[in-house]
């Protein structure tokens, strides 16, 4: 087996971009990434807030998320493939990987809110709603930014891996990579890898800009 030259990779890259499957594969994979991210984000936020209010929840969730983080991703993929409908596997796998990262960032962000600022707000009898919008949310923002950026990056890797095992829908990036693997087309695999990296970088760049715009000078 000969490792492809950059020129061969470039040719493969161009042919993939021009192919009919390209847009639908990218669309399906990106859709799954954002969907699974949203599914993980909502409970992570809810449990993060709950863990701030109820110390027992913080202790329990700290243990659960530590365990979830240490489970090998491939074990989750194999179990999900055996136990769940194939179409659901990428979502479930992504949830298990992304949720602990997001939860930990949100919970730690809420724990690290400056108690002296909360005390100041209490001394001026500021309403709870205002304390949430003007102290909690701005304090949480850097943790949220870090959590969202790292977990979306992670989602790209996990979803594509899960799609490699999911043969039902061939219109995904992972399935396309698997096709190239069957054909022993390394140039094609590298070209798709480059596409994933570009997509991941674009999303990360957009998020960085988004958070920079709302960021504050302090």
């Amino acid at each position: 087996m000969i490792f492809p030259s950059p020129y061969e990779v470039l040719l493969s890259f161009v042919s993939i971009i021009r192919s009919d499957i390209f847009l639908s594969a990218v669309f399906n994979t990106v859709k799954t990434i954002f969907l699974s991210f949203a599914i993980a984000f909502i409970p992570a936020l809810a449990l993060g807030i709950l863990s701030k209010l109820v110390p027992v929840v913080y202790i329990v969730m700290d243990g659960i998320s530590a365990i979830a983080r240490s489970i090998p991703t491939v074990a989750i993929i194999l179990m999900a493939l055996l136990l769940l409908p194939v179409s659901l596997t990428p979502l479930v796998i992504c949830f298990f990987v992304v949720f602990p990262v997001l939860y930990t960032n949100i919970a730690e962000g809420l724990v690290s809110v400056d108690g002296r600022l909360l005390e100041m707000a209490k001394s001026y009898r500021i309403k709870k709603r205002k304390i949430i919008t003007d102290i909690y949310i701005p304090s949480l923002r850097p943790f949220l930014a870090a959590g969202i950026r790292s977990s979306l990056g992670l989602s790209f890797k996990i979803i594509v891996t899960a799609e490699v095992f999911n043969f039902v829908n061939s219109s995904t990036i992972g399935a396309q990579m698997y096709m190239h693997k069957i054909q022993i087309d390394i140039a094609g695999i590298i070209a798709w890898t480059i596409i994933v990296v570009i997509l991941s970088l674009l999303v990360d760049f957009a998020l960085k800009k988004l958070f920079e715009r709302s960021e504050i000078r302090w």
Binding site: R116, L117, E119, M120, K122, S123, Y124, R125, I126, K127, K130, D134, I135, P138, I216, R217, W218
Partner: protein, 236 residues
């Protein structure tokens, strides 16, 4: 009038406050003077309703508008000077009115032109002046001050005391100031409570016989009273 009746505070197994009785009157600055670590800040926090006493009662604080100046400015780092002031103003004030009120008080504390500056762009003294502006902007009935000048140098401390007096004279809210500095207490307050070491008790209540204007080290009475407090109560 705000009254403290038999206030006790115990942290784990340590008694911090041991039966404190005090009265804070309207239109009067009251100083709580005592050695460092004797529980002055704890007493102030109990009075302001930030922490609960183990035993005892705080009367007269219901529905009172309060302001607080802490040892550090405690400004919101993600808000500009004006936004930090707006944070403590009631929501029902119209936005343009709010801005006007904020600009007016910033002028009074010498921070005109710094409306859009963030706390990180202000010096320590400027931040503390902004914190003072925040305390006075709410038209509080009672204002609590926890050693607000202790991190400032002598010159800035003098300027801040002058600024505090000029702001206070406009409405004369009740002020409770915690300090370990006898000079500061005599310069600012009409009444001084002297606390003992932990567990703190009131060992002396002094009415300042000198009115504003005559409180100066150049005044023999001021100097005598200062020495008396130091020798009779703080060094004994």
């Amino acid at each position: 009038m705000v009254k403290l009746i038999d206030i006790h505070k115990r942290y784990q197994s340590v008694d911090v406050l041991d039966g404190i009785d005090m009265e804070f009157e309207e239109g009067m600055i009251t100083a709580i003077l005592g050695p460092s670590g004797c529980g002055k800040t704890t007493l102030l926090s109990i009075t302001a309703g930030l922490i609960e006493p183990t035993r005892g009662e705080v009367l007269g604080m219901e529905s009172k508008k309060t302001g607080f100046i802490f040892q550090e400015p405690r400004l919101l780092p993600w808000k500009t000077a004006v936004q930090n002031l707006e944070f403590v103003l009631p929501d029902n004030i119209e936005k343009t009115v709010k801005k006007q009120i904020c600009c007016d008080i910033l002028k009074q504390v010498g921070l005109s032109g710094f409306e859009k500056h963030y706390p990180s762009q202000l010096s320590g003294g400027m931040s503390q002046r902004l914190a003072m502006a925040r305390a006075f902007i709410v038209d509080s009935d009672i204002l609590f001050m926890d050693e607000p000048f202790q991190f400032l140098d002598l010159k800035r401390r003098g300027q801040m005391i002058e600024l505090l007096i000029s702001l206070w004279l406009k409405r004369k809210p009740a002020v409770v100031i915690v300090t370990h500095d006898v000079h500061e207490a005599l310069l600012l307050s009409d009444k001084i409570y002297i606390l003992s070491d932990k567990p703190a008790k009131v060992i002396k209540e002094i009415r300042n016989p000198m009115p504003f204007g005559s409180r100066s080290v150049k005044n023999a009475e001021f100097y005598k009273l200062e020495q008396e407090i130091i020798n009779d109560y703080l060094l004994r």
